[in-house]
């Protein structure tokens, strides 16, 4: 699959989620932060985006901690996203 196609698929999976909160956060993240990530972080984000909302939301709102260190870096960046 081409890079553009891969990115489009990721965009769909980030912005057609079960919870509005996650559509907003992941969509914003994809636009503003994702292009600046190191390759390992980008891979970690893809794994996070594949999680279900009720797994990912507790990581983002801090009620659960991430065990994988690279994922934890990305989650910290996700927590900093401000949707206006």
């Amino acid at each position: 699959m081409e890079e553009r196609q891969r990115l489009n698929r990721l965009r769909w999976r980030c912005t057609r989620r079960a919870m509005l909160e996650m559509d907003l956060l992941l969509g914003e993240f994809l636009d503003r932060v994702f292009p600046t990530l190191a390759p390992a972080q980008a891979d970690a984000f893809v794994i996070l985006a594949d999680m279900e909302d009720l797994e990912l939301w507790p990581l983002v709102n801090g009620s659960r901690e991430c065990t994988d260190p690279v994922q934890a870096e990305v989650v910290a960046l996700l927590r900093n996203v401000r949707v206006k």
Binding site: M1, R9, A18, M19, D23, R82
Partner: protein, 594 residues
């Protein structure tokens, strides 16, 4: 004769939508041995049903005495007498059965000490015909919808339901006689367009809350089922009725739970006034959803809104002890920081009344069959869940009755399909030669459009127009203007342009196709709202106020009827409300007051 041919796959039944209603219908069909396909824009357990936290209602009577007839009364009253009483009786009677069934499918309900399903009170659910609150809501912690979808999905896997994930249904296939023969769908991964030819087609596509600028609904709720039905000549019922939640974060729409006001949160306007004291001197900020929403809109309309555009009010919890906020309102601080950019311990949260739930939809009877204007079933076509209008919610839905609707009518539609297939009433009829032409022409138009309208900008324009002209509190002149504006926007939708013309994972195309559906829902809503000259349930007009002759602005003489919006000619028809229940006496018209 068709110029275009597309691949055809054959099934006994095709279900569009893998939320609670679609999955419940699929269990019936697959377990009965019907070859069943379920199409979904996303992986099933990512459907919007996940967002439901509050619970599902059923008069199990586990915590105190309860009866389906009381539940029925509450639902009729909640609907402001616009709900059909046969369907409401059916749903409330079936509730205990479908909830216990769900338990057997593996749903991890909260339990009482004796091991029964635990039940809690929920707004509008009462005992003994409106006497006092009753515990009727069954929940699995605050993840009821999520747990429900997982239980239903697992059961489907066991029953060999065939899932088509990341497929978007584009149009219904109907023949000359009006019979529905399946759907045409787009596979996102390949861009391939395929016909799903089936004896029965079940719509379970969920709501369309994204027609409003401020919505608690996830982005996926673009009303595809409504758009497809309308394009195929099916009228849409009661589309003027949308439930709004008073406190969505301004801009983002993310829901701030009622619990915030329960813990002492106060609504303030631009002069820092606690304005609810004027509108509801007793209940104040804890008045019912519609009263609070209307007060908020009045403040904004009279120039006392906050912010540079004076278009929101403030929900203030800065006077609460931070420890209380963290303990009693978990998650609210994070939501406010991430979606409003403020820390609610230090500053108030900007909020506006926000679209939450669609009461209207594709008209069905209580068996889940889609019906025409005279109540005759459309052969081969069924619907359940938020896309459908059975009509059990009438002018206003009670909390927890939607998850119940999914279970009851998901199951009922499945059972009716089985009955209709077995009796030979529906079979695999030949596809008309030109069945794909309309869809292929639409796709071709989109691919070749030049100098057209931008999809994102047009959608935004549509959403802003709906919010401004057809929001929680409605004004005659604004509605008239709104109809004209929406028809203008329709012209832009008809000439949307996408730069990317590729096939594989072309999300720009999918979003343009979603907009084709949003516009149909927006037209139906605006036109129906403009026409209904009374206030009833969630539809509240400034020029239909509370008077002794018409309490709450409701006008039963002229408006105790369902609207039916026809895409063709953009016109309205009407049909009577079914007042005769299946076995009990009619619950007679009365003023709705709590």
């Amino acid at each position: 004769m068709s110029k275009l041919s597309i691949p055809v796959r054959k099934f006994d039944a095709v279900i569009v939508g893998a939320g609670g209603s679609g999955l419940r219908a699929a269990i019936q069909l697959s377990e009965a041995g019907l070859k069943t396909a379920v199409l979904s824009k996303v992986f099933p357990t990512r459907s919007h049903t996940v967002a439901a936290q509050g619970g599902v209602s059923a008069s199990l009577g586990n915590s105190e005495e309860d009866h389906w007839h009381w539940h029925m009364y509450d639902t009729v009253k909640g609907s402001d007498w616009l709900g059909d009483q046969d369907a409401i009786e059916y749903m409330c009677r079936k509730a205990p059965e479908v909830v216990v069934e769900l338990e057997h499918f593996g749903m991890p309900f909260d339990r009482t000490d004796e091991g029964k399903i635990y039940q809690r009170p929920f707004g509008g659910h009462m005992s003994n015909f409106g006497e006092k609150p009753v515990r009727r809501a069954c929940a699995a912690a605050d993840r009821t919808g999520h747990a429900m979808l997982h239980a239903l999905y697992q059961r489907n896997v066991r029953a060999n339901t065939q899932f088509f994930v990341e497929w978007m249904a584009l149009d219904l296939i109907r023949d000359q006689s009006g019979q529905v023969l399946g759907v045409i769908a787009l596979e996102m991964e390949t861009g391939e367009v395929v016909a799903f030819h089936a004896k029965a087609t079940v719509f379970a596509t969920g709501g369309a809350g994204r027609i409003f600028y401020s919505s608690t609904n996830a982005f996926i709720n673009t009303g595809d089922g409504l758009g497809m039905a309308a394009r195929a000549g099916i009228a849409l019922e009661d589309m003027e009725f949308w439930q709004f939640h008073p406190t969505g974060v301004a801009g983002a729409g993310v829901l701030i739970t009622e619990g915030v006001r329960g813990e002492g949160g106060i609504l303030r306007n631009s002069t820092n006034e606690r304005f609810m004291e004027r509108y509801a001197p007793n209940a104040k900020d804890l008045a019912s959803r519609d009263v609070v929403s209307r007060a908020m809109v009045t403040e904004i309309n009279e120039g006392r809104g906050c912010g540079p555009n004076k278009d929101f009010v403030l929900l203030d919890i800065t006077h609460l002890d931070p420890a209380t906020i963290m303990k009693r309102l978990p998650g609210i601080r994070e939501i406010s920081i991430q979606f409003a950019g403020i820390d609610p311990i230090k500053a108030p949260i900007p909020v506006v009344p926000t679209c939450h739930y669609q009461m209207g939809g594709v008209p069905t009877n209580y068996k889940g069959q889609v019906v025409g204007d005279d109540g005759t079933p459309v052969r081969g076509f069924y619907a359940a869940g938020e896309v459908a209008c059975a009509s059990v919610h009438g002018a206003n839905r009670l909390g927890t009755n939607s998850l119940l609707d999914l279970l009851v009518f998901g199951k009922a539609s499945g059972d009716t399909v089985i009955e209709n297939v077995r009796s030979g009433e529906i079979g695999l009829k030949e596809l008309p030669a030109d069945f794909a032409d309309r869809t292929m022409a639409r796709l071709n138009r989109l691919n070749t459009q030049t100098g057209g309208a931008n999809v994102n900008e047009t959608r935004l324009e549509l959403q802003r127009t709906m919010q401004k002209h057809c929001g929680v509190f409605r004004f005659n002149d604004m509605l008239i203007e709104g109809v004209a504006k929406i028809l203008d926007i329709e012209k832009a939708v008809a000439r949307t342009e996408i730069k990317d013309k590729s096939h594989v994972w072309n999300t720009a195309r999918v979003e343009a196709l979603e907009l084709d559906n949003l516009i149909e829902v927006a037209k139906a809503t605006m036109v129906s709202a403009e026409a209904r000259k009374e206030s009833r349930g969630a539809h509240v007009r400034d020029d239909a106020p509370d008077t002794p002759a018409n309490p709450n602005g409701r006008d039963d003489v002229n408006w105790h009827k369902h609207t039916l919006w026809h895409r063709d000619g953009n016109r309205l028809g009407f049909k009577p409300v079914i007042m005769k229940p299946l076995s009990v006496e009619t619950i007679a018209l009365k003023t709705r007051s709590y």
